[in-house]
């Protein structure tokens, strides 16, 4: 089944609020092998001028992956997820995510195009605090291998 181009420009509902916690940031930092104190020690983070422990720059994927995953799993899109690999990822931050932030994610599909035999799907997910402050925009390009209908 071909990927449905009508989904370009489609926005998806905002996620439930997600609370960024010190424990989750420390777990993520452990998993990437990063012992930097600003990701696990409140005093060290504050001494460096942060409100609380900050999240590593790829932490936003924890929030955006779930939201964008919901978008690309929409049955009407027709993506064959078994054939999907991650092509490109970028994050734009107005400031780091900080422990205590309560945020929501709003994903949209911004582009669908062919690249040889593959189909590339780009999602843009805005992560905002519940009071509306934009913290991060995460752009993910997924590649469906062999997704161009023969």
């Amino acid at each position: 089944m071909a990927v449905n181009r009508d989904y370009v420009g489609r926005s998806f509902p905002e996620s439930e609020p997600y609370e960024v916690s010190r424990v989750k940031i420390a777990e993520f930092a452990d998993a990437i092998g990063d012992s930097n104190p600003v990701f696990r020690d409140q005093a060290a983070a504050q001494a460096a001028g942060h409100r609380d422990v900050i999240a590593p720059p790829t932490f936003a994927i924890v929030i955006s992956l779930t939201a964008a995953g919901t978008a690309v799993a929409d049955p009407g899109l027709g993506l064959n997820y078994a054939m999907v690999v991650h092509g490109e990822q970028r994050f734009s931050y107005t400031r780091p995510l900080v422990a205590g932030d309560v945020v929501t994610a709003r994903p949209a599909i911004t582009d669908i195009r062919d690249a040889g035999r593959n189909v590339m799907i780009t999602t843009s997910t805005e992560i905002r605090t519940v009071s509306g402050e934009l913290v991060c925009t995460a752009l993910s390009t997924l590649v469906e291998r062999g997704g161009v209908a023969a």
């Binding site: 998993a31 990437i32 092998g33 720059p57 991650h86 092509g87 752009l139």
Partner: protein
Amino acid sequence: MSGQVSYEKVEAGAEIPVAVYPVTRLSLVKYCGASGDFNTIHWNERIARAVGLPNVIAHGMFTMAQAGRFVTDWAGPEAVVTEFGVRFSAMVVVPDDDAGATIEVSGTVEEKLDDNRVAVALTARSSEAKVLTRARAVVRLP
């Protein structure tokens, strides 16, 4: 960690020393749990081979995280990352042994921007293959 880099002292063209980060099967299992990405190809060799991969492969985001760590370790605790983007150009294959694989990251200060920001160009290799391309971070320095 190398202390705090200041915008005033940093020079365009400066090279950031290479760092080598290990990645084992345990790293990937932990990353699955921490990130919520349980795609089978990151932990199950049988399934990975069945879909045509040489073995279990690392999450692209794990590799990107190592490049991020390289930047934040260099830039120091007061720095904040404002932009970070990569393309995933090759797989990091992780064998089932104690050594696993390695991801070698290097970087260069590409340019000094306004608002105390600097752009850093990054490269990441595993088993000689370039695993990231167009990898670039912008950090705001004190």
